[in-house]
Each structure stands twice: as structure tokens, then as C-alpha cells.
């Protein structure tokens, strides 16, 4: 499965040329000879996204090494691992948010349903409408609550007329469990909400465009336990309709909300498996060290 270093270098070279970027290859150091094989079953019966041999480089520094994993439809999958191991980097590959970072190079294959999302024919705008994202820090736009939720549907022309938009906004807020709290203040700025409410507003904003996959990068790290509990509950409910990938530093959270868990370490996908199995019976030494608190 894993390519040789020579091949990787050639791949990188081609990719760089294809992009027309001028990075002298001498500055690109490929240091993946210590790449570790993934333990556990990477495939699922009903995959929503299929990632094969994904490598990511930031100006010559490799941040992800040969990551291969399936993300099942309607599952919640958690990414855990010590800081800097590449969880966010991988997450951002899944909706091509890495495109916005200059000198970030993604090599490998990532498929959403049957489409290679890095293919030239793919419109990244439509991809991101299908694969939504919620960030670590709540980032509502400096607009009203209503406009925050209406933003996505509006740019994608998803509704005809005000009445339909009203309905969509209310439905999204309802699904994000926020409607009751903000029903009477839809015209107030989204930034006037509390941190937890803001994060749910961001979730409402993401589900308003009716994505198929929602990526969440440490969505609760800025929140208190009660707000966190609300969002975890929400994630559980959203699973019915969406596929959710969540990055978290809280092992309890991973255990509570996810069905499968993937452990990353220094750019390697070390272990992947059923959440119960990962937390009770990890197969890899590094995973065990991490979840028993001996690392990180």
C-alpha cells in the first residue's frame, strides 16, 4: 500500500508542477522512512468517504504520512491524538480547506461517495456545501442570528422567497437545539450569544446548507461542561442524517459520541477501530500509552 520514498518524491514533484508552484525540491524533505503501519480495520461496509494514502506537506514539512481510512455513512468517527499530530490537517483535507493555506500540498486519494474530491472536475464550492465544517473557536459572522444561518442557503440559491428562507432558518436552528433560546431575538447579532450558543449557531449554519458530512474540529474546547453536554447530545441526534467527523482532545467525549475512533501520532494514523475496543483494549502500544495518560 505505502509508496516508496522515491515514488513519493516523484508524486510530489508532479503535483507541484501541476499546481505551477515553484518550490525548490531541495527544500522538500521527505522524512517518512519512519512511517508506521496502521493497526486495525480501515474499511467499513458502507463508506461515505474513502481516503487512501493521503500525505500532506507544509512547505517541505510532512504533516501527514500515508493515511488510509474509510468514513462510514451515518457514523460519528472521532480523531484523537497528541497536539500537532495532524488531526486538524487531515480534517481540513476532507473539504479541501487546506486549499486556502499557501504552500500546503495534499497528495493521495480522497473520495466522497464515488467522486475524487481532488479531481480537476470537482467544484470546491459544491464540495464544501456537501462537507460542512465547524471550527474550534465559534466564529459566527458579525451579522444577525438569522443572517448567519441564512448565509449558506443564500449563496447556494437553495430557497425561493422569504417564507421558505424563514422556514429553513427556523428548522436549522431547531435541529441545532438553539431555536427555543433565540426565537425572539433572531435579528440580534450572532456575536451577542454565549460561547456555547455561538457554537450551536455555527452548527445550525453548517446544517442549513444540508451537507452530507459535517467536520468538527474540537467543537467543545472553548465551552463549559453544560454547553459541551448539549453539543454532544446534538451530535448524537445529527447522526441520523449526517456523517460526522469530530476531532477532540477529550477521550470521554470521544467515548461518548463516536462509534469508531482513530488515533493519530506524529502524522501517522496509528490505530483505528470500534470506540469501545480502542478505549478498553487498544492494540498498539502508542494508543495504549495515550489513552492511559502516559503520553501527551
Amino acid at each position: 500500500m505505502s509508496t516508496t520514498i522515491i515514488e513519493a518524491k516523484a508524486n510530489l514533484d508532479n503535483a507541484l508542477n501541476a499546481e505551477g508552484r515553484q518550490i525548490p525540491l531541495s527544500s522538500v524533505q521527505i522524512t517518512d522512512y519512519d512511517h508506521r503501519q496502521t493497526v486495525g480495520k480501515i474499511t467499513v461496509d458502507n463508506p461515505k468517504m474513502i481516503c487512501r494514502d493521503v500525505n500532506v506537506y507544509y512547505t517541505g514539512k510532512q504533516a501527514l504520512k500515508h493515511v488510509s481510512i474509510d468514513i462510514g455513512a451515518n457514523e460519528v468517527i472521532a480523531f484523537i491524538g497528541p497536539s500537532g499530530c495532524g488531526k486538524s490537517t487531515f480534517l481540513r483535507c476532507l473539504n479541501r480547506m487546506n486549499d486556502t493555506i499557501p504552500f500546503c500540498q495534499v497528495i493521495g486519494e480522497i473520495k466522497l461517495d464515488q467522486d475524487d474530491i481532488y479531481d480537476k472536475s470537482i467544484d470546491v464550492v459544491q464540495l464544501r456545501a456537501r462537507v460542512g465544517m465547524v471550527f474550534q473557536k465559534p466564529n459566527p459572522f458579525p451579522k444577525s442570528i438569522y443572517e448567519n444561518v441564512a448565509y449558506g442557503p443564500r449563496i447556494h440559491g437553495m430557497v425561493d422567497g422569504k417564507a421558505e428562507m424563514d422556514e429553513l432558518v427556523r428548522a436549522s436552528l431547531e435541529r441545532a437545539g438553539l431555536l427555543k433560546e433565540v426565537e425572539n431575538r433572531l435579528s440580534e447579532p450572532g456575536t451577542s450569544l454565549s460561547g456555547g450558543q455561538q457554537q450551536r449557531l455555527c452548527i445550525a449554519r453548517a446544517i442549513a446548507v444540508n451537507p452530507e458530512v459535517i467536520l468538527m474540529d474540537e467543537p467543545c474546547s472553548a465551552l463549559d461542561p453544560i454547553a459541551t453536554a448539549k453539543i454532544e447530545e446534538l451530535i448524537d441526534e445529527l447522526r441520523e442524517n449526517y456523517t460526522i467527523v469530530i476531532v477532540t482532545h477529550s477521550m470521554q467525549q470521544a467515548a461518548r459520541v463516536s462509534q469508531r475512533t482513530a488515533y493519530f501520532h506524529l502524522g501517522d494514523l496509528i490505530e483505528i477501530g470500534e470506540t469501545d475496543q480502542i478505549f478498553t483494549n487498544p492494540k498498539h502500544k502508542l494508543t495504549e500509552d495515550y489513552i492511559t495518560g502516559r503520553f501527551g
Binding site: 448565509y151 456575536t191 455555527c202
Partner: protein, 459 residues
């Protein structure tokens, strides 16, 4: 002379700083931790004691020394000089000063005057010597005082910081008082003007020709002080300038902040800012010698009547001049919008242009309005380009192809050359200045309201 004393004082203070520091080490037995403040604060404390009292006395002394000496000299003059009426005495004193300074003297020096001059010189020498002694001994006294006050418990930091504080407050009030002084002087002169010309004529009159009769018997130049044509001209030219500068400036700001590569931006932004550094005179003759004839040529070829000096030429060039005010500041504020806003928008599948239109521009609006406002005030205040390219004739017209004039240009023409300072013609300049000030103030207030209303807060 005085500069040497001042330099000596500075030198002494520098010495005092080291002395104070040393002293702090000594009283702490070398254990800095025992001191309330860092040793350098004890140094500054000593230096301040050395410098400030001496400087204050120094300043007062040189303010009053000359008057005092002259009083003494006059008192020592022979009675026939001393008892002259005040205005003649003034002349004598002036002669005396010129004599002492070795300048041209109005009348041949007589013995009495020569004696007085000698007296003056003598007093001045004594006075200066006394000044040196007083200032330097005060400085040394200050050092001694500080030296004795230094102990580990002395709160040197707090005291030094208090002095610094006072100094900062004083600096900031200078700006405020200067503004206040300018406004008051303009207001007073304007009141004088409005006693001669009715305020209604000034505000609503459509005729501007400020030539007044200098003598009662002079004919043919009765002044008309209607300021409407001037403000209309100002508005017309500034309007044309803004029509050029705002779109171009905003678009280049957007390009620089969102589309350009960092490398290109690093080159292009300073290059744009150079536009603001070109002297306005240069813009002026560019407008008068290149742009105005061009416009005239194009206009006549299309069968239009174009004056050789036109509002359009001045406005166009002024617009180019103020592009960097809009672009550079707007670029800064657009860049200051947090990356998380862009990420949020892109993650919803927004394109770059949608993100700019719907997220970045609204978020950066206050700063953009601010930059536009700065450009407007720059345009209103601009004089040189208008003098050279738009002419001096106060036409009341909305046709950009005709010659117009602006408020600032008229202020300049009213005040240049030999003038009486109490004729309506010169006083009119102050009234115009006041009006201009009020107009820009109102503009500022309106813009602040706009900004407050539409401000979108992040965080």
C-alpha cells in the same frame, strides 16, 4: 550662550543619573533585591532632581531677564530721556537694543545713549553670570537632595513614573490647547467679519467678489461675499475626486489583501503609497499642463465647450492623489478581519467574491468609511492642484468643464500680498476657514454615526 548652559545642565543630569544609580547600589550593599525599585529608577530620580528645578528657574530667568535689565537701564538714564512719553521712550529703547546688538540705528548715537548701552551690556554680563551660577548650583543642590533621599525604601519608581505621567499629560494637552487656540482666534476674526458683512449674505449669497474699496472715494469695487459658489466649487471638485478615488482605491485594496500574492503585495503597496508622497505642486502642474489641455482637446473634438482651466482636470488629478489614502487604509482594515471569518465563509462553500462581498466588506466597513473620510477631508483641504488647474473664478456651476474655485484657494488669495488686517476682504478668509472647519466637523460626526450604526462586531 544659553545653549552652553543648557548642554552643561544636560551633562550634569547624565552624571547625576550615574551617581544616583551608584548610590542605590551602595545603600543596598549591593543587594538589588533590597531596593524598592530597580537602580536605574534611582538614577532617573536623581537626574530629574538635578534637571527639573534648574530648568524651571532657567526658563523663568531668560523670560524676564531682558525686561528687567531694560527697566534698570531706563531708570539710570538722564531725566530728559527717562521722562519722555511712552511711545517715544519705546523708540529710544529700540534704538538702545539695536545699538547693543550692533545693528542699524535710526539716529546718530549721542553720549547719553552710548552710556545707556554700556550700562545695558554691563548688566547683561552680570545677569548671565548670575544665571550660570544660579542654575548650576540649583542643579547640584538637587543632586545633593536626591543623594540624601536615596534609601532602600525610597519609592523611586513611583516618583519617576509620576513625573513621566505629568509630562505625558502636558504633551497631550498641548495639542488640545493648540486646536482650541486656533478655533478661538478664527472665531474672533469671523465675528469681526460678520459685523461688517451680514451673516445671511455670507451664507446664502450667490456672488463672490471680495474686492472692496480701500478708500471711500474709490469706485467700481463693491465687495460681494456670498460663499455659496466657493462651497459649490469645493463640493464639485471633491466629488469628482471621490468618484475617482473611492472605487479605484477600494478595488486595489481588495486586490492587495485578497488576491495578490504576499510578494506582489510587498512591492505594490509601498508603490501605491508613493502616490501620496508626491508634492501637490507637482500634481498641480501635471493637472494644469497635461490633464487640462488633454480634456480640453477631447472636449472640443466632441463639440463641447471646455474652459482651459476646468473642475474636471483638478478633480481627476486630485482623485489620483488620494487613491492611496483609501487603498492603503482599507487594505489594512480588510486584512485585520480575522481569518476565522474567511474560514467560516469558505467552509460553507462561499467563493472568494461572495466572501468579500458578504463578510469582509461589512466587517471592515467602519475602517473603510474612516479611510474614505480621511480622503474627503484631504480633498476638501487641497489647495495647490485647484489653484493651478481649476482657476480662480468663482462660478456657480455644476458643469465640471467650467472653471471653478474652492474655499481654500480663496483663503489663500485673500491673505497673500499686502493686506490691511481689518478690511472685510482679509477677515473674510477667517469666516471661510470657520465655515470649512464646521463643514468638516459635521462630515466627521455624520461618518461616526454611520460607522456606529453599521458596525459589525467580531468576537
Amino acid at each position: 550662550m544659553f545653549i552652553y548652559l543648557f548642554l552643561s545642565l544636560l551633562l550634569l543630569s547624565a552624571g547625576a543619573y550615574h551617581l544616583g544609580r551608584k548610590r542605590a547600589f551602595v545603600v543596598a550593599n549591593g543587594h538589588i533585591r533590597k531596593l524598592h525599585s530597580l537602580p536605574s529608577f534611582y538614577g532617573s530620580y536623581t537626574a530629574l532632581w538635578c534637571f527639573l528645578p534648574a530648568l524651571i528657574v532657567f526658563g523663568l530667568w531668560i523670560t524676564f531677564q531682558q525686561g528687567f535689565i531694560i527697566d534698570l537701564v531706563v531708570a539710570g538714564m538722564p531725566p530728559e530721556l527717562r521722562n519722555l512719553p511712552p511711545d517715544q521712550l519705546n523708540l529710544v529703547v529700540n534704538d538702545l537694543k539695536n545699538l547693543v546688538g550692533g545693528n542699524f540705528v535710526s539716529s546718530a548715537p549721542n553720549p547719553a545713549m552710548l552710556a545707556a548701552a554700556d550700562h545695558y551690556r554691563h548688566l547683561r554680563t552680570v545677569g548671565n553670570a548670575a544665571l550660570w551660577v544660579t542654575v548650576l548650583s540649583l542643579a547640584i543642590l538637587g543632586v545633593v537632595h536626591a543623594w540624601r533621599a536615596i534609601s532602600p525604601t525610597l519609592r523611586a519608581r513611583n516618583r519617576v513614573e509620576r513625573v513621566v505621567n505629568v509630562f505625558l499629560i502636558a504633551s497631550s494637552t498641548i495639542a488640545i490647547f493648540t486646536t482650541l487656540g486656533i478655533v478661538l482666534s478664527v472665531v474672533f476674526e469671523s465675528i469681526l467679519f460678520f459685523q461688517k458683512v451680514p451673516i445671511s449674505e455670507f451664507l446664502f449669497g450667490l456672488q463672490w467678489s471680495p474686492q472692496t474699496a480701500l478708500r471711500a472715494d474709490q469706485t467700481g469695487s463693491s465687495g460681494a461675499f456670498g460663499s455659496v459658489p466657493l462651497f459649490a466649487g469645493t463640493l464639485l471638485i471633491s466629488g469628482i475626486a471621490m468618484v475617482i478615488a473611492v472605487p479605484i482605491g477600494l478595488m486595489s485594496a481588495l486586490f492587495l489583501s485578497e488576491y495578490a500574492t504576499p510578494k506582489f503585495r510587498a512591492v505594490a503597496k509601498p508603490a501605491l503609497e508613493v502616490l501620496a508622497g508626491i508634492p501637490t505642486v507637482v500634481y498641480g502642474f501635471f493637472a494644469a499642463l497635461t490633464v487640462a489641455p488633454l480634456i480640453r482637446e477631447i472636449g472640443t473634438s466632441m463639440g463641447l465647450h471646455v474652459a482651459s482651466e476646468s473642475a474636471l482636470a483638478a478633480g481627476l488629478v486630485m482623485g489620483i492623489m488620494i487613491i492611496p489614502f483609501v487603498s492603503s487604509l482599507s487594505d489594512d482594515v480588510i486584512n485585520a478581519v480575522p481569518q476565522s471569518m474567511r474560514d467560516g465563509s469558505y467552509a460553507l462553500g462561499a467563493t472568494k467574491s461572495e466572501t468579500i462581498k458578504r463578510v469582509l466588506l461589512p466587517a471592515a466597513l467602519p475602517g473603510i468609511v474612516g479611510s474614505i473620510l480621511l480622503a474627503v477631508s484631504r480633498a476638501i483641504g487641497e489647495t495647490m492642484i485647484v489653484v493651478m488647474a481649476a482657476g480662480l473664478s468663482a462660478n456657480l456651476t455644476a458643469n465640471p468643464l467650467e472653471a471653478v474655485t474652492t474655499v481654500t484657494v480663496q483663503i489663500v488669495t485673500l491673505l497673500t500680498g499686502d493686506q490691511e488686517f481689518d478690511s472685510p476682504k482679509t477677515l473674510a478668509a477667517f469666516a471661510l476657514g470657520l465655515m470649512l472647519f464646521i463643514v468638516t466637523l459635521i462630515l466627521n460626526i455624520i461618518a461616526l454615526q454611520v460607522v456606529r450604526k453599521y458596525r459589525e462586531q467580531y468576537e
